[in-house]
């Protein structure tokens, strides 16, 4: 807090002295001393517009009343908010606003928490002097999820400004003049936007409401629970409102959590997925080849019996476990402890293996941390941002908002290496805000980073100190880069050398450089190498160890980071400790008072391979769906069918769970307590909003019960006890606070890397990847994440399905014209591995020659992809394929 004389001012509000930073608005200064000035149009996230005129105050030495939302506090200012003049002004403005208001509070969803209602109670007489005809807007259809009732509107334009200033979507606009001003969409079509729900949340009255829970509640009936969103790695705090144990709505308060009130469509409209009628409510057991309902006792006893049988007959290594990165930290921790102690194997893995491990392992190798050295605040404050393969506005929308804020409000320079064309569409596109953009295929992201490195080296932008201290490293890298030629690089990335030189110059000049790596990079073949290249880039430009700079891989699943930190991956122990490190093993063994299994564990695809070959006989799968997620070529289904015993803990009967011998119904994150770790390493509390549906139980309770039956009791009273144990194992873990304190780059690790560790597989990662897939196609097919879906859970959410109900192949207009395709046409995708039919949607942001398919619906497309396993991190990369597209008439 700036408190020196130059950047703070003193003023008095109603005689109360207050010191605020320079540039603070009077309304904010008043709030600091507890004086609430009524307002509609002001919102701290938005630029002041001063259109409601509600916040008028008297300022000494100013002739007229001033709007406190647009007046900046100055030294010695004396503001009065409670004089008769001010009170009369508030009253009169409110009288005007209420003149045309329909006063339909009894049927308004906002009634009970409406600013207009509150201020009316505070200021106006019960009868109005307005005896004229009220203005009426005819009801017009607005959108499937967002409803407007323009008669209630106070024309504060918060929604319009939010949509433009914060979201950068610009879907809403005022239309008409004077009293006939109403909020509409641009053009005459229905609302077609990101559906972030921001307009619903920011509306001070009931003019914009959510149709999803329309008329189902009154605000005073709602019970709230502050918890964390279950979709992406951003870790947004959401407030889940429930009525009689039913989910009613989700919102997020300004200033709360890491998102500070902003949500995306998944967070705002996706909450009803867990209440889907398909939810498993009772344990299922396979009898005569079919899954039938049973009791918990029978299911658990049978499971324990089978596990014990396999363990006794084939040894602990014949058992494997998988867990989803959507479970809480407590469950992930207990799962790995269960696997390691109760069963005695390191054959365990989590969904972090799908890509997040690439980023984590690269960070561990170069900078010695297993999480970001940044927080969201540093993204906002960055002056140069490099985004590689993120598609951030769709995959991690709230991180996207931080990037937008940095660019739009703080004029940061933005460089992107994405497979997106800058095009204005209904969903915001980060490449519209760039300084320099390289539109490369996901397979060539590594090539683009190489070009960037080459530009750094050739433009003599290498950090002087590094050159001095580690000439070997710089020399080796330079030498490796010399083998690459510019024509080659330009051909691979499709961008000119000049672009890379400009980006390199920008990166080197930046004082706070942040590099974000998204799923498209992390989940592509060679993702690990590319992450190392990005870290090399930061090292070479001397930014890695600078404050405010760093590398930030984005997580797709909400607790991928927690899975890594809880040790729910084969090669890591809790706290990111290396399993192979005897010292670390000893530390964990001491904490657990038990010995750890020695043999290195099998990872995701290895386990599936071992299941196929019969080495693994039994598996425990918690919330993970390898059959649905992995491409057909891996053969997960056949492998799991060969298992002697498969037990699944699931919310729904997924492709994997339907192969199981026992399916145990688990509670969703809205029904249990615990913690989630978001991608920046911030541990946040998950609180139950509703009771578990049916007989479902939290995963940790199930694991705990199984451990008791297996004779290795891992018993806990509640999730908090588990967290306490985790804190014992990982000191200082999960301190629930307002903002995370990111770890510092471990200098010892950097030195080790520079001293020679960099040499490992140097040549391999400094080689341009060849053409990705030779499966005989001309179009590059990529799996992409849609803004409206995340994982497989969201496809059960009524709200999200109303926005995007089925998978459609996104193609570029030019390609569509070439193939004579229009929206909704059916096409056949084929390559050597198989063929699939789907519908087409033309989207301008798709690069020419590419096609995108959302990876949430299409199990069919799984057969088109091949799977490349990263030799270092065992990450399966299967998100790109080459196909041919043909129209089906």
């Amino acid at each position: 807090m700036p408190e020196s004389k130059t950047d703070s001012v003193r003023l008095t509000i109603d005689g109360i002295p207050v010191t605020v930073p320079k540039g603070t608005l009077v309304i904010e200064a008043a709030r600091r001393v507890g004086v609430m000035i009524p307002h509609f149009c002001y919102h701290p996230k938005l630029k002041p517009d001063a259109n409601c005129r509600m916040c008028l105050v008297e300022v000494e030495k100013m002739p007229k009343l001033q709007t406190s939302c647009s007046t900046v506090a100055t030294e010695g200012m004396a503001v009065r908010t409670a004089t008769t003049v001010v009170n009369d002004a508030h009253k009169s403005v409110l009288e005007f606003i209420l003149a045309n208001h329909p006063l339909d509070c009894p049927v308004c969803d906002q009634g009970g928490r409406c600013d207009l209602q509150d201020f009316s109670h505070q200021y106006t007489a019960t009868a109005s002097r307005f005896v004229e005809t009220k203005r009426i807007f005819q009801k017009e259809y607005f959108s499937p999820l967002i409803e407007t009732q323009m008669n209630r509107c106070v024309q504060c334009l918060r929604c319009v400004r939010y949509c433009d200033e914060v979201m950068d979507v610009k879907a809403l606009a005022p239309a008409g003049r004077g009293t006939m001003t109403e909020i509409k969409t641009f053009g005459t079509h229905e609302l077609d936007c990101e559906f972030c729900g921001g307009c619903v949340q920011i509306c001070p009255v009931g003019a914009i409401t959510s149709r999803l829970s329309m008329y189902e509640y009154r605000p005073w009936m709602l019970k709230r629970a502050d918890t964390v969103c279950q979709f992406c790695g951003d870790g947004c705090q959401i407030t889940v409102q429930t009525k009689d144990n039913e989910l009613i709505e989700v919102n997020s308060e300004y200033g709360a959590g890491r998102n500070s009130g902003d949500l995306c469509a998944r967070g705002f409209f996706g909450f009803r997925a867990t209440g889907h009628p398909d939810r498993l409510t009772k344990p299922l057991i396979r009898r005569n080849g079919a899954l039938v309902e049973t009791t918990w006792e029978e299911a658990l006893e049978y499971t324990a019996q089978q596990i014990a049988r396999i363990k006794n007959a084939h040894g602990a290594q014949a058992f494997g476990g998988l867990i989803s990165g959507r479970c809480t930290n407590e469950e992930l921790y207990l799962f790995q402890k269960f696997m390691r102690l109760a069963i005695g194997t390191n054959n365990l893995d989590s969904s972090a293996r799908y890509g997040h491990m690439n980023g984590v392992q690269a960070m561990r190798r170069v900078q010695g941390t297993h999480r970001w050295t940044l927080s969201f605040e540093e993204i906002v404050q960055a002056d140069v941002l490099l985004l590689v393969g993120t598609n951030v506005t769709e995959t991690n929308p709230i991180t996207g908002l931080k990037v937008k804020e940095a660019v739009k409000k703080r004029q940061a320079r933005l460089f992107t290496i994405e497979s997106i064309r800058p095009a204005i569409g209904t969903i915001s596109n980060i490449t519209n805000l760039v300084d320099q953009h390289v539109c490369a295929l996901p397979t060539q992201f590594g090539g683009a980073v190489l070009a960037l490195l080459k530009a750094v080296v050739e433009s003599r932008l290498v950090d002087q100190r590094l050159q001095h201290e580690s000439p070997d490293y710089v020399g080796a890298v330079t030498q490796a880069l010399e083998r690459l030629s510019w024509p080659e690089l330009e051909a691979a990335t499709g961008a000119a050398r000049d672009t890379f030189v400009q980006m390199a110059t920008g990166l080197a000049q930046g004082r706070r450089v942040v590099v974000l790596a998204g799923q498209e990079l992390l989940r592509s073949a060679g993702g690990y190498g590319s992450c190392l290249l990005l870290l090399d880039l930061l090292l070479l430009t001397g930014k890695l160890t600078e404050p405010g700079c760093g590398f930030a891989p984005l997580a797709e699943e909400n607790n991928d980071q927690g899975a890594v930190e809880s040790g729910a991956v084969a090669e890591l122990l809790p706290g990111g400790l290396d399993l192979a490190n005897p010292e670390a093993r000893a530390r964990i063994a001491r904490a657990w008072k038990a010995d750890l299994p020695l043999a290195a564990g099998a990872t995701l695809v290895e386990m599936i391979d071992r299941a196929r070959s019969g080495l693994v006989k039994g598996m425990l799968i918690v919330g993970e769906n390898p059959v649905g997620s992995l491409p057909t070529v891996v053969g997960a289904k056949e492998a799991l069918q060969r298992l002697e015993f498969l037990v699944c803990q699931e919310l729904f009967l997924t492709e994997t769970a339907s192969l199981a011998h026992v399916v145990l119904p688990a509670a969703s994150s809205l029904e249990k307590a615990g913690t989630f770790t978001n991608q920046e390493g911030h541990v946040q509390a998950v609180r139950p909003a509703v009771d578990p549906i049916g007989e479902s139980r939290p995963d940790w309770e199930i694991l705990s019960a199984l451990s008791v039956l297996l004779g290795t009791p891992l018993e806990y009273g509640d999730a908090k006890e588990l967290l306490k144990e985790i804190r014992g194992v990982i000191p200082g873990y999960g301190l629930l606070g307002p903002a995370p304190i990111p770890p510092k780059v471990d200098r010892a690790a950097v030195e080790r890397y520079l001293a020679g560790d960099y040499r490992r597989a140097l040549a391999a990662r400094y080689t341009l990847a060849g053409p990705a897939d030779a499966a005989g196609g001309t179009t590059h097919l990529g799996l992409f994440q849609s803004l409206f879906h995340s994982g497989k859970l969201s496809t059960r959410s009524k709200g999200l399905l109303q926005i995007e109900a089925q998978a459609a192949l996104r193609i570029n207009p030019a390609d569509a014209a070439r193939l004579a395709l229009a929206d909704g046409d059916r096409v056949r995708l084929s390559n050597r591995r198989g063929e699939v039919t789907t519908t087409v949607k033309v989207l301008e942001r798709v690069p020419e020659g590419s096609a995108w398919f959302p990876d949430h619906f299409g199990q069919d497309t799984a057969k088109l992809f091949e799977c490349a396993i990263d030799p270092d991190t065992n990450v399966p990369a299967f998100r790109t394929a080459s196909v041919s597209i043909a129209k089906i008439s």
């Binding site: 403005v93 045309n100 005896v131 004229e132 024309q155 003049r177 004077g178 009293t179």
Partner: protein, 441 residues
Amino acid sequence: MSAIEHMPTYEPVLLKNMSQPGYTGSLPDYEKTGGYRALRNILGKVAPADVTQLVIKSGLRGRGGAGFPTGVKWGFLPKDYQGPRYLCCNADESEPGTFKDRQLIERDPHQILEGIVLACYAIGAESAYIYIRGEFVLGAKILEQAIGDARAAGYIGKNILGTGVHADVWVHRGAGAYICGEETALLESLEGKRGLPRVKPPFPATHGLYNKPTVVNNVETLANLPHIINRGPEWFAAIGSPPKSTGTRIFCVSGHVKRPGNYEVPMGITFRELIYEHAGGMRGDKAIKAFIPGGASAPFLTPDHLDVKMDFESVAAAGSMLGSGGVTVMEEGTSMVWAALRLMEFFYHESCGKCSPCREGSSWLVQTMRRIVAKRGRAQDLETLSDLCKNIAGRTVCAFGDAEVSPIMSTLKHWRHEYLALIHEAEAAHLLRPEPAAKRH
């Protein structure tokens, strides 16, 4: 033309060229009358800051309505700002009763263009936009033509007359909103946004068009510049009623007079002189009942104010303002309530809807006024009206709020009895007809 013939006493300045027989307003015509001489004499020869000083010395004040000293306004631009500055010529003349800019644009466009280039030079702007009212189709065409001619002749564009000064001019047509005559709304509209006034501060002088330092001047103001340069600020400052209100001014006389039209007279003559001598007196020689001294936004004045001098200060002292110079005269027998309602209807239609008091207040006022005029008023209506007016004035983002209440405020002040008469009639009718009207509209 006839109007101009009847102006024997004063020498016209702005209307001088166009009053010459056969003057077409084309470039050769303008050059023949000494046009673009000021440009040749100033550009590259006098420092821009000195031009500003010249204008300050002349005492020229804005002719758009507010009457802010032009040179002082130019002086507000940040001196050391690196980057573009803009000049906007406000030709969005939509004030009811005002039609001077239209004549200047249509009859003598080069006079304005010369003024624009001079102003650009003084403030260091290389681009100027003429924001012309959408309805002025002819005016826009003539301006486009004139700009084309001037550009071809080297008076506009890059490197004007080889002096190294750049000043390009574009015409932008509005889309029919009165509020876009307000300078910040004009800038918003020019930027391609919805024409709503901006919150001030920051003022356009520092954060104007595209967030760059910008000056917005009225057509008449800019048209004065060549004359000030040619004949010297002292000449200009001597005309009118120095020291505050200098120069001539075009007054647009309309209403119940014999000869409505534009009259260029020095500031400081009386309304009586303007109405009875220049405009030929009242139609049918009826008595005068009321007049609006400066466009629809200015409060009404009564015959008692006929001897008020027509300069900024005297009119302000009389409780009104000189505004845009549109003098609307009403004869005896005019219903002042109806006249106020007519203006209110205009303001209701033109309220942009940005801030609550003006948006809701205008619809409320107009509905109440309609009721009173339709003899459905109630005794408490007058109090409500004056209360609403008080609540609107001074509480809005722009000056529109003050403008829209002025007809009602001033008529309520001077002709309250007319309102009362209508209301009494309504109440009497109500007493005679016990069944209340079932529906009100």
